[in-house]
Every structure is written in C-alpha cells, then in structure tokens.
Amino acid sequence: MDAPAAKGDVGEALSVEFRSATKRYPGSTQPAIDELSVDVPAGEICVFVGPSGSGKTTAMRMVNRMVEITGGDILVGERSVRDRGPAELRRETGYVIQQIGLFPHRTIADNIAIVPKLLGWERERIDARVAELLRVIGLDEEIARRFPAQLSGGQQQRAGVARALAANPGVMLMDEPFGAVDPINRERLQNEFLRLQAELRKTILFVTHDIDEAIKMGDRIAILREGGRLAQYASPAELLMAPADGFVEDFVGADRALKRLSLMRVADISLWEAPLAFAGQATAEVRAKLDGAEVPHALLVDGERRPLGWLSEGDLEQPTVPQRPHTSPDPVLELDDVMRDALSDLLQAETRYAPVVDARRTIAGVLSVEIISEFLTSDEALVEEHPAAERPLAETEEAG
C-alpha cells in the first residue's frame, strides 16, 4: 500500500520506547503503571496482556497522551511524547478501541476520512485514500455510503481499522480490537489483520486479556501484573518456553506446551523418512528398507510419489507390492499445517504416524506423536521463532 507522500502524511513505522514510564493518579498510593520499560522496534506487534487491574490499557493510552505520564518518558520515533501537542500526536497515531467508536451519524466513508480531514487533506486526496482503504480491508465501495448501524460487527471492526490507518500513521494503538466479535469472526479478523500487517509493517501496540490472542498476534508480548508492573517482556516462544516466574507461568496457563505447538508449522520440525513402496516393486526391497527404519510400516505411493496408503505385513509377504494398499493414508498432513492441528488430526484418527505432503501433494516425510513429544521436551522451540507477520496463513484463504 503506497500512499502518496505529501504534507500531513506520516508513513514510516516508528519505534516506541517506554522508559520507566509511570502513571500515578492523584490520591492513590499505588501507581497505575510502575516504571514500565519496554522497547518496541519499528514494524513489530507488541501485545500488552495481563489480568484486569494490570494497567495494560492505561499503558497503551499513555503513548498518545490519552493518559498523561507522571514519571519517566515514552519516545515515539525517538521523540518524547511530552514534547508533542496531544492533538497532533494523536492524529499521527492510529487508534482502535474495543467498542470501535465509529461515529453513528457519519457514513463509513466519512468515518474513515476523519483524521485526513483534521489534517486538512484535500477532498480528492481523501476520496482516493478512502477508496484505497476500503479495498485494502476488503469492504465494498457500496458500504462506504452506509451508516455504522447498517454494518455487521465484523464489517464495523474492519471499518474501525481502516479509519485508524487513514492518515498512514507510524504507530497503531489497538485496545482489544477484536474483543466484541464472536469467536469465529474474531479468528478471521485476526488472520486478516496479520496478513494486512505483513504488508503494512506498522508498529502496533495491541492490548488484550486473552493470552491465546497475545501469542497469536504478538511478535513480542509484555505481560503486566497488578499495579502496572512488567512481569515479562519476550517473544511468544520464549514466554512459553521460559516463563520468568510463577505469575507468568500461571497466566500463560498449564497448556503452554500445547500453545507452543500453535506457533509452529509442520515444516518447522524434522520429519521421519517414509519407507516408500511402489506398486509392482519387489517386496524384498521394501522389507530391506523397513529394517531399522523409524517408521515400521511401508507407505505405498504412486508414480508422482503421492501417498496412496499403508501396506500391511500380509501385503509384504506377496512377491511384489500390490496395487491397492491395506489401509488409507489418512490423515495426510501438509507442511503448512499448524502443528497443534496436526497433532489433533493424529490423535483424532487414533494413529501414530501420518504422511506429510508438500504443496504438490508429494510425500515430504512422516510425522509421528513421538516426534512431537520429543520436540516439546527439547530446546528447539526457542530457536524456532516466527514473527507473527511472517507466518504464512494458508488456512485462512476462505476469509473475507
């Protein structure tokens, strides 16, 4: 998305640096945010997550001075927010809230045009920008003339994101942006947003109370605890592998091992080699292959090396490999599958081994329950780290 560079255009993603940022409300002994130091590199999604009362929303709102810091500093693009006029700072910072806050008396197009208008853009430029954003977020041009009440929750949320992106801000603040949407639409919006972010590369501060959402969306996660204290600031994988203390461990949940699986694809793990058999091949050759192999069963494949099914002991007692396999190859996994889903498929099919294929359906290896359990007890997860925006999202093609 290349917005024409012009006056009032912000463009480039900016870093955000909290330097012992503190918020103390008058008359309260405990600070709401206690010396928070977090460094968010330009172009990354940093998720603030924590229980209620941990100040995650307050921390986010200090960045555009919706909440004034009382100690320390926050630098946006290496400039202190204290030195910026609040209105000017906010116009250069995208802002999405849970209730969306679309103006009910303005059409969708007018809602999206609000910040460009405040910045004094010309009419034609605003119109062009609105049309471009509607395309980017996948809303019909016809929707632009409607009022917010005429849109579904998901459409409203998309319009809210478009409005925040309108003046091409360097930083986006998103407070539980998908909180008011039902679970199915939430997942779709999350995936769409990650795909959008892969293109836009904005610096995003994202607030949620949902650790699963944090793990899914975040390049980095800041876990806050009561009293606005930072419990841990790390990548999702690091957080799951090495929680800093008991609080983080509890917050991340007892199923953190499984959560790690949702961060990876089947392609990220070393698979076992499948002992392949072709129809008409001498079974002696196949039996030799099986000797000492990790997978104790032979996989019948066609001429293109696409899996047809598993062969039984009985099949291998014939002189040549039969045309038809003893059992179906299902479940057949893909390299692109999320590891957690792959494990689920294995368990559901009550099988220990599943063939894994690449995009052309050619056999790439075999995944087994043992590989996964070995992986979970190793340190490999720390190395296998995937920034959210780089992850391919093939399973969400139907979204939109």
Binding site: Q99, F103, P104, I114, F147, A149, Q150, L173
Partner: protein, 242 residues
C-alpha cells in the same frame, strides 16, 4: 380578574367586535361557529396571526441560542449544571402576567417585553434537553474522537452536538408548542398576537374558536416542521440495522 390584568385589558384594541354583533342570525344568536362571519372577518385575524408567529419564532430561536450557550458552558464544567437547571426552573415558574408587569418599567410596553418573558420560559426545557442529549452521547464515540486528535471544540461541534440532536429537537418541540399557547397572553404586554382578538370578546364563540383554532394549527404546524427538520438533520437514525 386580578387588578393588574384589568388595568391591562383596555389596552387590547378589541371593542369593535362586540359592536359588530348587532346583525341577524348566527352572529346575533352567538351560534357555535358562524362560518359566514368568520369568512367575512378573517382579515381581522391575519395581523394577529403574523404577530403571534413572530413572537413564537423569536422567543424559541433566542431561547435555543441562550440555552445552547448555557449547555456548552456547563458541558465541561459539570458543577454549573445544578445551579443553571435551578435558575431556568425558577424562571419557568414565574406567572406570565407577573413577569410582564415586572418587565414593564424596564423594557416598556410592547413586543420586547413579551419576547423576553417567552424566551425565559423556553430556557428550562431546551437547556435540560441539550444537557441530557450531550450526556447520552456514547462514551466510545467521544473516546474515539479524542483519540483521533479532535480538540474539545471539534468534538463538541462534529460529534457531541450532532449526536445530541434528537434530544435537542425533542426539547424544541415541547418549548415551541407551549410558547404558542403562552404567547396568547402577550397581548397584555402590548405585543399583540392571537390573544388580541381572543381576549377582545371571550363571549363570542366564533371569535374564540377562530383565534384559538389558529393557535392550535400553528402549534401543529411548528411541531410538524421540527419533526421533519429533525429527520432531515439526522438521517442515520432512520437506517434499518442489518
């Protein structure tokens, strides 16, 4: 009739009505409604009707301007709301004739006195409705507006007042209809209006029906006009949610 009212009455120029009831038929018998007389004498009511229209319009417009000013002033200074509600409430309770008499030495006999009093009566309703309308603006809209970098003034004019419009219109409707009724007393301040023919001969049924009927029609017309204006100004309220 009270003493001040009696002293004001002769100033209403109406004696000729009585003199003209010397004809025959309906008028002499003081029938329920003498259509022929009404038709022949309708021109007598045109000037009072226009005067009434001016009194009501001027009072409601002035009332809206003042109430809007008060509401905007107290919007960011919440402590002002109770005293202002009290003050406009006190104005509302002053009997209209007493109000005219109090104003007479200051503003004299005539339209100004009537408009000041009528304006004062509209303040309570309009002010309270604007305050209620501003209070009902969704917090999310205000937060989003501020978060996008609107100044207080931009937020007020572009978000809060447009969203308060339905309540403001509702207040204007009540204020206008009640002002049409109270303005029939403006004749005692020497400001004419439909009260002029009405009080000139309260015993002549056709006169009472004609003057009173015109006031009622005016109230209905104003109300309809405000309803239409409200619809035109807030198209988002008509939309059917999907």
């Amino acid at each position: 009739m009270s003493a001040p009212l009696a002293s004001l009455l002769p100033l209403a120029q109406g004696d000729d009505f009585i003199q003209e009831r010397t004809g025959t038929g309906c008028v002499q018998e003081n029938g329920f409604f003498c259509a022929e007389w009404a038709f022949d004498n309708f021109d007598r009511y045109v000037t009072p009707l226009v005067e009434h229209l001016v009194l009501v319009s001027a009072s409601v417009v002035a009332g809206l301007a003042i109430a809007l000013g008060l509401a905007v002033m107290s919007h960011r200074r919440r402590w002002l709301v109770p005293p202002l509600t009290g003050l406009t409430g006190v104005l509302y309770t002053i009997p209209s004739l007493a109000f005219f008499i109090v104003l007479l030495p200051i503003t004299g006999f005539g339209r100004t006195t009537a408009i000041i009093a009528l304006t004062a009566y509209t303040l309570q309703i309009i002010y309270r409705n604007i305050v209620a309308g501003l209070d009902n603006v969704p917090a999310a809209s205000k937060d989003a507006g501020r978060g996008m970098g609107m100044t207080d003034r931009q937020l007020l004019w572009r978000v809060e007042l447009p969203l308060a419009l339905p309540e403001i219109i509702a207040g204007l409707r009540i204020a206008t209809v009640s002002t049409v009724a109270i303005a029939t007393l403006a004749v005692f301040a020497g400001a004419g209006g439909l009260g002029d023919p009405l009080y000139a001969d309260l015993t002549f049924r056709t006169n009472v029906l004609l003057a009173g009927g015109l006031a009622i029609l005016m109230a209905i017309a104003f109300d309809a006009l405000l309803v239409v204006a409200g619809r035109v100004a807030s198209p988002w309220r008509k939309v059917r949610p999907v």
